[in-house]
Assembly symmetry: C2
Homo-oligomer: 165 residues x 2
DNA sequence: TTGGAATGTCAACAAGGCTGTCCTAAGATG
DNA sequence: CATCTTAGGACAGCCTTGTTGACATTCCAA
């Protein structure tokens, strides 16, 4: 069939297909977070700490406000997490040079070590999944995920992608 | 290059690629849950209620134990959610016919209406993402997600997929 | 210089995970 | 029958991580 709107061509858009996709996201996300969660459970930390460590590692010197908009939580929520990371000397908050209201965030050696441990666990699973699926599937995976993001988040994601390449 | 282990062929497995995949999962999952979350926020319900409604709709008559293992939470956690859904007459728990210890769970008309409203919101986004990405990307998306699941969850997912087709 | 906007902190509360314990009812097994 | 196991419910209390509200500090512009 050459008609791009034929039911055959659009079989992947049936409600049943969409529901399978939704359930796949649900179950896969559980796998995605399982390994770091297991490590975090042995300490007094949770997923929120992992996310903060990840993005500070990704963009050293980032400000609280910037982190806030990436994580999509309230600053009060982030502050609690940040406070414990700073107390435990995993993160250092330096008063901004230009604007003293800002805090520039950096990982300490200890913080970088934990971040690497968590990342490694997550990357190992990701690598296994990528390897099993193959490059073409991975490209499709990325394409669909990007299309699923909210506009604002997609822009943040793209910015991170280009900045970190 | 014909060597399948060459760095060129495996470019998609670099740490940078894996990190982009990890961040894509993070941002996409936020989009994935955003629409139902917005609806739920206007009521006294949360994501946990949505998940229960979804899987009861998917497998009417399912038992509490079965739901428990699909959702991967403790019975105390699920019970709290289920209790409020039953009180509000969104879910009905019938005593099992064969085994009277079991409770078979069903959506009421009211419950089915809310479930549909939540599903529709989520499916609409999914459909847009699928349409934008195309069938080949969708196939790859599904392949990677399945590879990312834990073994136990993958089996549960497959069972749902076949049962509901 | 003064008022508003922006950055970040502290306090208190709610949702939804968790563990632990105890309980009833009902099936399974000696 | 007596006992063990399984399904489910209830209650207490904990932790993480979201939320709002109030507040201090700092910068900037009228």
């Amino acid at each position: 069939m050459s008609d791009p709107t034929s039911s055959d061509t659009l079989l992947f858009l049936t409600d049943e297909q969409l529901r399978q996709g939704i359930e796949a996201m649900f179950f896969a996300y559980r796998g995605f977070t399982a390994d770091p969660d297991r490590i975090l459970a042995t300490m007094a930390y949770g997923r929120a700490h992992h996310r903060a460590l990840h993005f500070i590692a990704r963009a050293p010197g980032t400000t609280v406000t910037n982190l806030l908009s990436i994580l999509g939580v309230t600053k009060q929520s982030l502050n609690r997490v940040l406070r414990s990371l700073i107390e435990d000397e995993l993160v250092e908050a330096r008063v901004g040079a230009a604007d003293k209201r800002e805090r520039n965030l950096y990982l300490t050696t200890k913080g970088a070590a934990l971040e690497r441990k968590l990342s490694d666990a997550q990357r190992t699973r990701m690598r296994a999944a990528y390897r099993a699926a193959g490059p073409q599937a991975v490209a499709g995976f990325r394409t669909v995920l990007e299309a699923m993001m909210d506009g604002e988040l997609r822009r943040r994601y793209q910015a991170l992608k280009e900045g970190g390449a």
